[in-house]
């Protein structure tokens, strides 16, 4: 990799980019100034559309298209989603800590494109110290006239507020996030209406992931054609891959979209810890199905379009590696514990189903289950999937379906132990 585009602080010579003067001296906020002083909001939207940028928050929705969906009502809001709550995701934090101004510049360009005069950055509660730093950065921008009233002597005004979450995974979901900013319990709203129509305080709102927004200044300054040249046709641009689990060198890897699992894991991250065999991959944290460590999987490009073909999702690219020592039924239990704990409780199948599945997995893992319990687990997952109010319910079933299907032997082992245990007690 020659140049870091998002993790710019990693570039030689740009180490101090979290300092405003340094950022400015390296051409920072030129894109923003150009946008505000010379472009119409529509022109900005068109450029972002042309770049092919897709949302990095998980769903991969085309960003420019999302901006063009705003209803014709004012005021409008834009919100940066820095909740970063998916297990195994830690990219937004590095961006905000090390390259905060590129992110803020992206947020500000987004606000201009949406004609919003108030922007929010919603950070997970654990980021409280980081948030204080970001707030001081925003104050600096206000002092320099980059935020505030009549920016660059135009009619455009903008302020940025920070809002801290209180420790709920679901507040990363955009509509729950908006509820949370409004001071309400973090529960997803019914969609439609989408935030672009009725968002924050029922007004048109854009919600974008932190990393998504960090791409925007690049697109403006170097042009959509340049941007499209990175990655694949349908998945353009650079992407930060959060690699964790049994990797030899876990961490954030910024690569063009479209490198393969193999390249990421073995070429960049040095392979598996202690040179054990790789057993499974969770490509999108807790939310997407396990993938077996087959050659087919390892040679699949990390793109929004290719991973679904092998039965999983790229999501926010929070890639967790599980080596041969991992019992997948245990991994499923841990995953389910997470969802049982994080289900917001608004809809029945997810609220009750995650609790039930967690208990079934607990029974299986403590060798007290019969085959019928494993079957029931699959049936309960079937009762949940496709019937919930928000995607979290579906996410919760991924580990169950893929775990049972791909790693049945791990479950069988527990059942066998349970049966043997019973036989033992019978013979005694």
């Amino acid at each position: 990799m020659t140049e870091y585009l998002l993790l710019r602080h990693r570039n030689r010579g740009e180490e101090n980019i979290a300092d405003l003067d340094t950022y400015l001296s390296l051409g920072g906020f030129e894109a923003y100034e150009r946008v505000v002083t010379t472009m119409t909001p529509q022109e900005v939207i068109d450029i972002v559309k042309a770049s092919g940028l897709r949302g990095r928050g998980g769903a991969g929705f085309p960003t420019g298209v999302k901006w063009s969906f705003l209803s014709d009502r004012f005021p409008r809001y834009v919100v940066a989603n820095s909740d970063e709550s998916e297990p195994g995701t830690f990219k937004d934090r590095e961006i905000m800590e090390q390259n905060p101004f590129q992110f803020l510049e992206g947020l500000m360009i987004c606000a201009y494109a949406a004609q919003a005069e108030v922007a929010y950055n919603y950070c997970r509660g654990e980021f409280w110290e980081l948030t204080q730093v970001l707030e001081s950065k925003v104050r600096q921008l206000n002092d320099r006239g980059l935020l505030g009233r009549r920016i660059f002597d135009t009619d455009y005004s903008l302020q940025i507020n920070h809002h801290l979450g209180a420790g709920a995974y679901i507040c990363g979901e955009e509509s729950a996030l908006l509820e949370s900013i409004e001071g309400k319990l973090g529960q997803p709203r019914l969609k439609p209406p989408f935030p672009a129509d009725r968002g924050l305080y029922q007004l048109p709102t854009v919600v974008n992931n932190t990393e998504t927004l960090t791409n925007v200044p690049l697109i403006i300054s170097r042009g959509p054609e340049w941007y499209k040249s990175i990655g694949t046709e349908k998945s353009c641009g650079p992407k930060i891959m959060c690699l964790s689990g049994h990797a030899k060198h876990p961490g954030n890897y910024e690569t063009p979209l479209g490198i393969t699992f193999r390249e990421l894991i073995f070429d960049l991250a040095g392979g598996i810890r202690d040179d054990k065999a790789l057993k499974a991959i969770m490509p999108s944290g807790a939310s997407a199905p396990f993938l077996p460590a087959s050659d087919e999987v390892l040679d699949t490009p990390l793109t929004y379009e290719d991973i679904p073909k092998i039965g999983s999702q790229l999501g926010s690219a929070s890639i967790i590696l599980l080596d041969e020592t991992v019992d997948i039924s245990w991994a499923a239990l841990k995953t389910m514990k997470f969802f049982e704990h994080e289900s917001c409780g608004k809809c029945t199948p997810c609220r009750e189903g995650t609790y039930w599945m967690y208990h079934l997995l607990g029974r299986i893992n403590s060798d007290k289950a019969e085959q019928a319990d494993v079957d029931l687990l699959g049936e309960v997952a079937q009762q949940v999937v496709g019937k919930c109010l928000c995607p979290l319910g579906d996410f919760a079933t991924s580990a169950v379906f893929s775990g049972i299907e791909l790693f049945q032997q791990d479950f069988n082992l527990h059942i066998a132990t349970a049966v043997n245990g019973k036989d033992d007690s019978n013979t005694k």
Binding site: R73, A168, I170, L185, G186, Q187, L190, Q202, E340, H341, E342, S343, C344, G345, K346, C347, T348, P349, R351, E352, G353, T354, Y355, W356, H359, L376, Q383, G386, K387, C388, L389
Partner: protein, 848 residues
């Protein structure tokens, strides 16, 4: 008319208005899609997932937009891959819905199973058992076998008081948010909400006192399980043991329709009221009642009730027979030569008031209304709000002006309905809201939802309307008595809204009003309505916020306020006849040497000082009718048996007349109503039959199937009939002179106001409300409190109507300077308008 579109539900074509939800469309063809969280009165949330159905839309050619067809000529349907919630999905043209496929059946079974995994096996002891949607839907859609291990069930708290009226059983809650949505969306008191998440998601209250809302009881009706129960009914009875009687609330001029549940005790064989629920009447109270109506029925069983006629012998009241008592009364009336004064309470039924007035009139005496605090009933007969107006449904073409009333305290359901009109967020966002204009001397709850607020000083109510009229008529004095608005921006803004609106409704109340002031206010309001042409039609006209449930009926029956105190009114009368009136208790004594006859429920102060006391039946023990402030005559029915020795008021007066040979005793209240219809022109079309008529109401809530829960909602007793205003009957009505009124002056002025939870005799006896009913108090402005050395909570003394009273002082920012708010019906003397007062703090140390 909204456009109608065709949808196909299980191969049946149905035409429904555009914008209809799939669940409602199905209900129209008697296809009950099971629901828990959905309630037709609340915005859909799609939480419980019980209503999942298969939905498809006609496939259209991408290029031409034309519908595509199968070979058999049927449109090609594009079925959605996932099941959809019928409660959130709006129908579209040609939409196809399947509700009976195995996929749908399975989904219903699954959701019920999920709900039951955390539900207790409480049915045998649960208050909801027997009318529980969860029970019903489990029977019709659930599985008979349980796959969830009981040991893995979460056991949580079962007796959580959310306040002193409502209890929560956390195990029974199915997290449907009907209760919180009711409070947030419809009431605007967001005092309960969810806490925690996942399976720990639970309802909590965040007000002090807990669940502090006048509408709290309604949540127990719409809760689809037995999670919310009232302290009143909790473990009180099983629904199937209850007898049902339609009734009408006796507490305010709204006239909410009630459903009274009674039960005969297995122990003493006595009947008692177990529960009061709302009865659906979309025009009146929809399916809601306030907590005063729900819990304020305990006076009926009170031990202070009179049980036999009594006459005074040797200074003592002694029980006697009806013949003796009525004989004595008729004798006295006959020998009085017309020196008779009759005072009848505004809470008596139309039949009582009619018989009462007839009795006094044939004896050439004079009648008056008790307490008769407000004027304008005659104007209401002329230009009262148009028939079929539904306050909740008023839209952006309507302005609602509320003056001199804290509606939330005086007529809670009107407040509730006005709130819907002023705040509802329709599909077109705020374009559907009516313009609410609130004029009052102080800030009230209405201000929060008002578009325009106009402030005045107490005493300037009439002047405010005249100024508004002036601004509306654009300076030309076409409107009687109007005066220049003196550049009051608020008045001008409000006037603009009135001018812009097609419809105008004026609601006038009794805050700080004397009889004369209120008369003038009603006249000024009427003049504005007449001048703008906002009379004689739906969504237009005048609404009085009377202090009692049948004040309008009293006016209609010819029992009008005397405009003076009872003491003055009866001054020269030899015989005084009182019914449902307690002037002595309210500080208006009667002359010592008059002969006093009282017909009453209780041993009131007036009753125990009377010469003859006649025990009367309470509204739940008899039949009768009340007329609401918006002139709807409504019937109530006997819910409890009553001792034969206690009679309905109308019968008492007719028996007296009969004894005197000047009238017959009717066969029953229906016959009295027949006489009324012959003698009172507005009532010419009213009969007990048409008062009992019911039409299908939409949304259809209640009924035997408990579809949305709450069997109480079903209306079997009649929707009532609104009387036509004079102008609706084709008479022309012209504006009248607004009489000038004298203003009280003084450094501090006592202002009578109404509070819902007062100490009135029919309410204070409901013990469960005791913690919510305040000790007698006054409210005073912060600055005035400082000047008079009063701190919040002090006992102060006040001279009112010549008598010293001790009350608690509350110091508040909301009270205007110079005003001392004195709530009515707080054990004190009747305040008939604004009066100068002096306040002294009581030094308890020296008093002791």
């Amino acid at each position: 008319m909204t456009e109608s579109i065709l949808v196909n539900i299980d191969d049946k074509e149905v035409a429904v208005p555009k914008g209809t939800l799939v669940v409602d469309a199905a209900k129209r063809v008697d296809n009950d899609i099971p629901v828990f969280c959905y309630h037709p009165k609340l915005d859909p949330v799609g939480m419980c997932r019980m209503c999942l159905v298969e939905v498809g839309t006609p496939l259209r050619d991408k290029e031409t937009g034309e519908m595509m067809f199968e070979e058999n000529g049927q449109p090609t349907i594009n079925w959605m891959p996932n099941l959809q919630t019928a409660c959130t999905m709006v129908v579209s043209d040609g939409m196809c819905i399947r509700t009976t496929t195995s996929q749908v059946t399975r989904a219903r079974k699954d959701v019920v199973e999920f709900l039951l995994t955390s539900h207790p096996l409480d049915c045998p002891v649960c208050d909801k058992g027997g009318e529980c949607p969860l029970q019903n839907l489990t029977m019709s859609h659930g599985s008979s076998e349980s796959r969830f291990l009981l040991e893995e069930k979460m056991n949580i708290e079962k007796h959580v008081p959310l306040g002193d009226l409502i209890f929560l059983d956390r195990e029974r809650c199915i997290q449907c948010a009907r209760c919180t949505r009711f409070q947030d969306e419809l009431v605007g008191d967001s005092v309960i909400g969810f806490d925690e998440r996942g399976r720990s998601l639970q309802i909590i209250t965040h007000s002090d006192p807990g669940f502090d809302s006048y509408f709290s009881g309604n949540t127990t009706d719409i809760c689809p399980v037995g999670a919310l129960t009232t302290t009143d009914f909790r473990f009180g009875a099983r629904p199937w043991e209850l007898a049902h009687t339609p009734s009408v609330c006796p507490h305010c001029p709204v006239g909410c329709n009630l459903h009274i549940n009674t039960r005969r005790s297995g122990q003493d064989g006595n009947w008692s009221i177990k529960r009061v629920m709302p009865r659906q009447n979309e025009q009146v109270n929809e399916i809601w009642i306030c907590d005063k109506g729900r819990f304020g029925h305990h006076f009926v069983n009170n031990s202070d009730r009179l049980t036999a006629p009594m006459v005074r012998r040797h200074g003592e009241l002694v029980e006697t027979s009806w013949d003796v008592a009525l004989g004595l009364v008729s004798e006295k009336l006959q020998s009085s030569n017309g020196s008779i004064a009759g005072i009848a309470g505004e809470r008596l039924s139309n039949e009582d008031l009619f018989a009462f007035r007839n009795l006094i009139q044939v004896n050439e005496g004079s009648v008056s209304q008790w307490p008769g605090l407000l004027g304008g009933g005659d104007l209401v007969q002329k230009v009262g709000v148009g028939v079929d107006t539904d306050l909740a449904k008023l839209g952006s073409d309507t302005a609602i002006l509320v003056i001199a009333s804290d509606l939330s305290e005086e007529a809670p359901l009107w407040w509730f309905k006005v709130r819907q009109a002023a705040t509802k967020l329709g599909a077109s966002l705020d374009k559907s809201r009516a313009a609410l204009i609130v004029a009052n001397a102080r800030e009230t709850k209405l201000d929060k939802i008002a578009k325009y607020c106009v402030r005045y000083n107490y005493g300037d109510e009439v002047r405010t309307i005249l100024a508004l009229s002036h601004a509306v008529s654009d300076g030309n004095t076409g409107i009687m008595g109007s005066i220049a608005a003196n550049d009051n921006d608020d008045v001008i803004a409000a006037a603009k809204a009135i001018s812009a609106a097609k419809n105008l409704i004026i609601i006038y109340g009794g805050e700080g009003q004397s009889y004369a002031a209120s008369n003038a206010l009603a006249q000024a309001c009427s003049n504005l309505l007449i001048a703008k042409g906002n009379v004689g039609k739906k969504d237009n006209g005048l609404i009085p916020v009377w202090t009692h449930c049948n004040t309008q009926g009293a006016w209609d029956m010819g029992v009008k306020p005397a405009g003076v105190s009872a003491t003055e009114f009866v001054a020269d009368a030899d015989v005084i006849l009182l019914a449902g009136a307690d002037p002595v208790g309210d500080g208006e004594p009667l002359p010592e040497n008059s002969f006093v006859v009282v017909s009453e429920l209780f041993k009131t102060k007036t009753a125990i000082s009377a010469d003859v006391v006649l025990p009367a039946q309470a509204f739940v023990e008899r039949e009768g009718s009340y007329t609401t402030g918006d002139r709807r005559v409504q019937r109530f029915y006997p819910a409890l048996p009553c001792s034969e020795n206690v009679l309905p008021d109308w019968e008492i007066f007719q028996r007296i007349a009969n004894e005197m040979g000047v009238g017959d005793v009717s066969a029953g209240p229906a016959a009295v109503m027949r006489q009324i219809s012959l003698q009172v022109p507005q009532y010419r079309d009213i009969s007990y039959e048409n008062l009992a008529a019911v039409e299908e109401q939409w949304p259809d809530i209640g009924g035997e199937d408990s579809y949305y829960g709450g069997t109480g909602f079903q209306n079997t007793g009649g929707l009532g009939v609104q009387t036509l205003s004079l102008i609706e009957s084709g008479f022309s009505v012209s504006p009248g002179d607004v009489d000038p009124i004298g203003l009280a002056t003084g450094e501090l002025l006592g202002v009578p106001v109404t509070v819902l939870y007062d100490r009135g005799s029919t309410f204070v006896k409901s013990e469960i409300m005791n913690s919510r009913i305040s000790d007698p108090y006054i409210e005073i402005n912060v600055g005035d409190a400082l000047t008079h050395n009063v701190t919040d909570g002090d006992m102060v003394s006040l001279i009112l109507n010549g008598k010293e009273r001790e009350l608690i002082a509350r110091v508040s920012n909301d009270v205007p300077q110079g005003a001392v708010l004195i709530p009515r019906s707080m054990d004190g003397p009747m305040l008939r308008g604004v009066v100068p007062v002096n306040i002294n703090t009581i030094d308890h140390g020296s008093k002791e």
